[in-house]
Amino acid sequence: MSVKISEEKLFSFYEEMLFYRRFEERVLRAYTQRMFAGFCHVHIGQEAVCVGIQGLLEAHDYVLSGYRSHTQAIAKGLSAASVFGELLGKATGCSKGKGGSMHMFSEEHRFLGGNGIVGAQAPLAVGAAFSLKYKKQKNISVCYLGDAAMNQGAVFEAMNMAAVWCLPVLFVIENNQYGMGTHIKRVTSVDSLAKRALAFDMEHSSVDGMSVVSVYEHCAPIVEKMKKTGAPYLLEVNTYRYKGHSVSDPGLYRSKEELESYQARDPLIQAETILLQSKKFTKNQLEELNQKVKEKVKKAEEEALSAPFPEKEEAFKDVFVS
């Protein structure tokens, strides 16, 4: 089955990517203005990955991720204000201000975090898929992993269990090529991370993650098949982060030329070009959209800023179910 994206769908994906770009820019601004602290990892440059994949999901599918997950949380249905609020450590944050940048959660939206230990979400994602199979539900569990997580033992163990028990986990490697400052090729023996699936006889493929069209059209049949067979799948999405690993990283380990080569294939620019060529949308419309998105982000930030910090007693709550 091959899927072709419609211009209308691409327009809505474009809006979503634009929203995440402006959101993460605003998050960085808030961080540099010292409105919050701790670690902060943003998705700028990688927007096409979650938009293309999560555009295919249903409310009852699970999503789990690592420490870079603000936009994936929003894509799963969490409000931008609750994610921004969590970053600011506010009581209205999606984890009541007790998780922060790395720990966005929503039971209601089946977003199971935000995990701060590289690769530790993989066994959890297999557990969520185990539950689905146990309850005979036809949904899937999506597990985002960074490229560097592919060298963690937990990920190997998780993939083996998903394969041997035929559990519906879509392992998505967001391959932005760097584990912090270390290029993946310096620490990994295979030339393509998708090949890791060969060890488990698991279906796998790679896709260009700078194009939301590619991601969406590539993943649509994968997700559809998974819902039928319940079998796991390893997808490598080749992408690039424009900013450092975290806010404190100036990115000295890579060249300006390398960064520019990816920016030339920016997911927003690619989508814009297609939309304008289709003649269904005008430059003015896209500019208006940009203004609208900026306003939405600003509103989310303002809502988060005006929210109260947690009461001190909150530090002692939620250790146990009482």
């Binding site: 998780g99 959660f105 995990n115 959890l124 146990y134 163990e157 083996n160 939620d318 250790v319």
Partner: protein, 326 residues
């Protein structure tokens, strides 16, 4: 009353709970077709089938994490560690995910899961197979920790642990699986967090838990012959700790010995000693004394192993010391 072995009591607890609640499943190495490395899960595969009694690969971190993910999404897993020595492989999942998930998510997710298996030195298994994890895991907020010494306690506490909505670390012992004890017919539960007075006494309070409880009881009997009446408190649950049971006994006897199979440095015993001296300072007639493993890895040779583990003699000596009768 029926006379059951510890392994039968634990197996009955799981079977009864699995009959009651279809969201419970058991996963671990050799739990299904082999009927359990120590036969605790004997018969469960036959009764509940392979979708609920599941042989895992040797991937402790992996299947511990799978259990946590399943618990977050509505199931109630029992994860068997063939021994807690292997369970150390799963510490990242247990400590970083099971214990912290509810807190980090602002109270959204519950993690109703039991991690169970034998803990501590057995017999001539050498350093890597003789680890006690109780001080390591009792240190972590968000985990409940249970350590059992009798078939009766094991059954009632395992059933409560399975019904608990929090992650529970359930510590057993290879040396106790064949131990027989009276277990009532029919259902009963023992709440987590309640210590049990295993022997009434007047002169010294002996606080202990798990397998070493039996040596503590032997030592208490020895001391009766020496004219010292010892009260033995089996904590049964380390988290939450039944402090009142300890304090009540110490306020009566005015003397306290803590007996544990942990290393002496930063152990559960140090915490109990701290709490007793703080809360019962005016009641104490002697400093709290601790009996623990020697501060070395557990050796293989039988005589060396015996040398480093707490013995009846060492416990008797501690009771005499705290009574100033040595």
């Amino acid at each position: 009353m029926a006379l059951l072995t510890m392994r039968e009591a634990l197996g009955e607890a799981m079977a009864e709970e699995m009959r009651r609640d279809s969201s419970i499943f058991l996963m671990g190495e050799e739990v299904a077709e082999y009927d359990g490395a120590y036969k605790v899960s004997k018969g469960l595969l036959k009764e509940f089938g392979s979708s609920r009694v599941i042989d895992s690969p040797i991937s402790e971190g992996g299947f511990a994490g799978l259990g946590i993910g399943a618990a977050m999404t509505g199931l109630r897993p029992i994860i068997e560690m063939m021994t807690w020595n292997f369970g150390i492989q799963a510490f990242d999942q247990i400590i970083n995910n099971a214990a912290k998930m509810r807190y980090m998510s602002g109270g959204q997710f519950k993690v109703p899961i039991v991690f169970r298996g034998p803990n501590g030195a057995a017999h001539m298994l050498a350093a890597q197979h003789s680890q006690n994890v109780d001080p390591l895991l009792a240190n972590i907020p968000g985990l409940k920790v249970v350590s059992v010494s009798t078939p009766y306690d094991a059954k009632g506490l395992l059933k409560s642990s399975i019904r608990d909505d929090n992650p529970v670390i359930f510590l057993e012992s290879e040396m106790l699986y064949a131990l027989k004890g009276e277990v009532p017919e029919g259902e009963y539960l023992i709440p987590l967090g309640e210590a049990d007075k295993k022997k009434e006494g007047q002169d010294v309070t002996l606080v202990t838990w798990g397998k070493i409880t039996h040596k503590a009881l032997q030592a208490a009997d020895e001391c009766e012959k020496l004219g010292i009446s010892v009260e033995v408190i089996d904590l049964r649950t380390l988290r939450p700790l039944d402090e009142e049971a300890i304090f009540r006994s110490v306020r009566k006897t005015n003397r306290c010995v803590v007996v544990e199979e942990n290393w002496p440095f930063a152990s559960v015993g140090t915490h109990i000693a701290d709490r007793v001296q703080r809360e019962c300072f005016d009641d104490l007639d002697a400093p709290v004394i601790r009996v623990s493993q020697e501060d070395v890895p557990v050796p293989y040779a039988e005589n060396l192993e015996e040398e480093v583990l707490p013995s009846v003699e060492k416990i008797v000596r501690a009771i005499q010391t705290v009574s100033y009768r040595i």
